[in-house]
Amino acid sequence: MADMQESSYKADELIARDIDAYLAQHQHKSLLRFITCGSVDDGKSTLIGRLLYDSKMIFEDQLAALEADSKKLGTQGQNIDFALLVDGLAAEREQGITIDVAYRFFATEKRKFIVADTPGHEQYTRNMVTGASTADLAVILIDARKGVLTQTRRHSYLVNLIGIRHVVLAVNKMDLIGYDQAKYDEIVAAYKAFAGSIGIGEFTAIPISGFVGDNITAKSGNTPWYAGPTLMHVLETVELNVTAESERPFRLPVQWVNRPNLDFRGFSGLIAGGVIEAGDAVRVLPSGKTSVVSRIVTQGGDLARAVAGQSVTLTLADEIDCSRGDVITKADEPVQVADQFEATLVWMSDEALSVGRGYWLKMGTQTVSATVQAPKYQVNVNTLEHVAAKTLELNAIGVAQVSTDRAIPFEPYDANRTLGGFILIDKMTNATVGAGMIRFALRRSQNVHWQALDVSREVRAGLKNQKPAVLWFTGLSGAGKSTIANLVEKKLVRMNRHTFLLDGDNVRHGLNKDLGFTQADRIENIRRVGEVARLMADAGMIVITAFISPFRSEREMVRRMLPEGEFFEVFIDTSLREAEARDVKGLYKKARAGQLKNFTGIDSPYEPPVAPEIHIDTAMMSPEAAAELIIERLIP
C-alpha cells in the first residue's frame, strides 16, 4: 500500500478530541456529485470501493463480509476485492458485472461526495446518461495497458453531450505497466487529440492505481515524474455547477401553489438559476405578467435573498395568474417561449421512437403533449459520424425536431439544464422512454411576445357560467351528424348554455368557399374549422361541429389545439350500407355514378375513431336518445 498513511481525510483524531469542532467543520462542507465511467475491467468499482474504504465509509462488519465474499467470489485472489463493495444486486454479484446506476456516498474534511456508478457496457448508454445528468464532474477511467478505446471515446462523447464541464482522465492500473511515464504520456496525448475533436477543451490527467492506491488521496512515490494534483485534490476543489448556476439569470419553475387560506398565495419551487431578493420585479412566463416579490417565505422566517439550488416559496405583490409549470424570472430577463425545438435525443426504451406519435414531455415542472419528427441524423457513438435514421432505437442518440401542443417557457440546455432538459413519457405504458436536450427553438413563436390578456378565456367562460367545449361530430355522409347535432344544440340552449353549431352550410359558403374536395382541400377545410372552433372555445362557447372529417390525423390535430378535456370526439356510427340506403341528399347515387369524385366511403377512405369520447351507434338508438346521451357526457 503506497503512501496511504497520509490520507487527507482521516478525521478520527479531531472527532475524538473535539466533536463540536468537527461538527462545525462538517456543517460547512459543500456537495459534489460526480460520475465514474469506464469499460468493464477498467477498475471502476475498485476505485470507488477504494474511495469509500479510505474515507472510513466501510465498517468492520461490512469489511468482514467483504473479506469472506472476496475469497468466495473475488477476482483478486487472497486480497480484498473492493469491487464487491460496490456491486450491489444479487444478479450482478453472480455475473460479476454492474448492471445499473448506483449511488455511493463518502465525505472528506472539505466536501461530501455522491458518486454515480454506471456500467461500461455498450447497451447501457441510457444508464450512463442518467448518472451523468446530475454530475458536476466525470472521472473517465482508462486501463493503462489498453490505452484509449472505443468505449473511452463513447463515454467522453456522452459526458460532453450531457454538459459536464469538468473531466478527469484517470489512467488506471499504472502498477501493471511499471509506472511507465512514456506510456502514460502517450495515452494522455492520444486522448487530448480526441477530446479536442469533440469539444472537450480542458481535462486533468492523473496516473493512478485504484488497487494499490497511487495518487488517489496522496501523491505516490511510484510516480515521481508526475507533478499534478491527486484525484482527491481535484474532487475537493473543482467548481460546483450550483455555483455557476447562481451567476446566471434568475429562473424559478413553479412547482406548487401554496394556498393555506385566502390571505396567502405562495409559489413554491427549486431555484434553477440566479439569485432573487425581496422587492425584485419579476415576470411570469408564458403569460408575461409582471409583479414584485413581496416575501421569500420559509418556516424559519423570511429570507432577504435566495440562490440557485434552494427550494423556496415566493409571494408576489399582485394577484396574478401563476400556476404549476409557469416560470418566474426577473422582469427584464425573461425566458423564451416556443412550441418547436431542435433537440438532441437519447432513446432509452426497447420500443423505438415512433415518429409523429404523441408523447408526454416533462421539462422543469411542466408536462405537455409532444411529437417528434424523423431524426435529422443519428450519431454513431463509436465513430461519432452522423448517419441517416428513420427512428431511434434503444441507446441511440440523434437530433430531431420536437413540437409541443402549446408554447412553453424554455432555455437552451447549454444555458440552463432544468429549463432545457426533458424526458419523454410513453402515454400508454407511462415509461420514461427518452431524454432530450433543447438546442434552440425553431419557430417564429420565440419572436412573438405573448400579450398578457387580462380578460382570459377563464374569465370569458366564467361570464357564461359554463366550461368551454368542442363537440366534434364525425361519421359518414348521411350518418345523422347534422340531425343529432341540431338536437344537441337546441337542448343546450334550453339549458341556458351558449353554443354555436358549425356545419357545411355555414362554412362551405363563406370561410371555405375557396376550397374543393381534394384530399388537400379537405384537410385545410378541417384545419380552418378547427381554428374557428378553438377561437370560439376561447370565447367561452360550447362549439358543435358536424363534418365528415374522415381522417384521424386531422381530428387529432384539432384535439391538440384545445386544452385537455375540452375536445369531445363524437362518433356517429352508421354503416356504409345504411347510410347509402338512406341517401337523403342523393349524393351516394351520384358518387356511384362517377359524378362526384373523392366521395367518402366510395372512392375516399373513412378512418373511424379509435377511442372517441362518445360513440353513438345509430342502429341502436334514436336521434333523440343520442342527443340526451351526448349532453349527459358533456355536462355530467
Binding site: 444479487a90 401554496n258 424526458i423
Partner: protein, 305 residues
Amino acid sequence: MAFEAGRGLTHLERLEAESIHILREVVAETEKPVMLYSVGKDSAVMLHLARKAFYPSPPPFPLLHVDTTWKFRAMYELRDRMARESGMELLVYHNPEAMEKGINPFDHGALHTDMWKTEGLKQALDKYGFDAAFGGARRDEEKSRAKERIFSFRSANHRWDPKNQRPELWNLYNARKAKGESIRVFPISNWTELDIWQYIHLENIPIVPLYFAAKRPVVERDGLLIMVDDERFRLKDGEVPMEKSVRFRTLGCYPLTGAVESEATTLPEVIQEMLLTTTSERQGRVIDKDAGGASMEKKKQEGYF
C-alpha cells in the same frame, strides 16, 4: 438553516432543497399520497422536511404507521406527540390476521416481520387507496437501496422489479402510473447516517430518547443486548435483566433491536460515537440476517419498504 450571503450552499442545504423538491413534486403529481412514519430518526427528518416544504400549510397528506404492537413504548409516545404538533392526520394500521394469530417476535421469527410489516403495509396501502407513499430509506443503508430510484414503482401487487426501473435524469421524476400501480418515494435517498444526525442536531428535531444512553434493563441474546421494555418480554430460565447504560442506533420492534453499550447522552456525543464506531448501522437489526447477503433485495421485491 438560514442561508448566509457570500458563501455557497452547504451539503445539508443542498440535501434539504432536494428533499423538499421531491416532496412537493409528489404532492403536485399524485392523487393520494401518504407518509410512512416509523418514528425513527429518518422518519423524524422526513417529517421535519415535509413541514418545511409546505409551510405555512400543514403537509397535505396523512402519516401512516404500520404498527406491529411490538415497538418501544417511547416510540408510541413520540409518534402521537409529533402527529399533534404537525397538525397531520395519523393513521395506525394493524394487520388483522397478525393480530388474530398473535404473531410475535418470540414465536414466529421472520414471519413476524413479514406479516406485520410487509403484509401490513400492503394491506394498509390497498385499504386507503394511496397511490404514493413516502419512505425514509437512504441509499447508504444497504447495497440494494443504492440502486433504487427516488420514485420507485410498485406493481398492483406491490412488487419491485429492480431490472425494470425508470431512468431518473436531472431532477425530473416521472410520476405517471396505471390504475392500481403505486409509487414509493424516498425523499432522503441521498442522505447518509451522518447527514441525518447532523441535521437533527442543527435543526433541533425531536427524536425518541432511546437514541441517547440511559440505564435500561437488558438481557444478552445471540450477542445482542435486548431491552426488556414491557411485561410481554419472555425471560428464559435463569435470565435476569441487567441495568446497563445503553442506547439504540436504530429502532424497530424492541425484542428484535440490539442496543449498544454507551455513555453518550447528548447528540454530539452520539455522533462522536457513531463516527468512531466500527460496525454499521443495520448490524443491530436481526431481520437483515435472515437470508444471507441478498436479504433486503429479496424483501424489497416482495413489497417490504
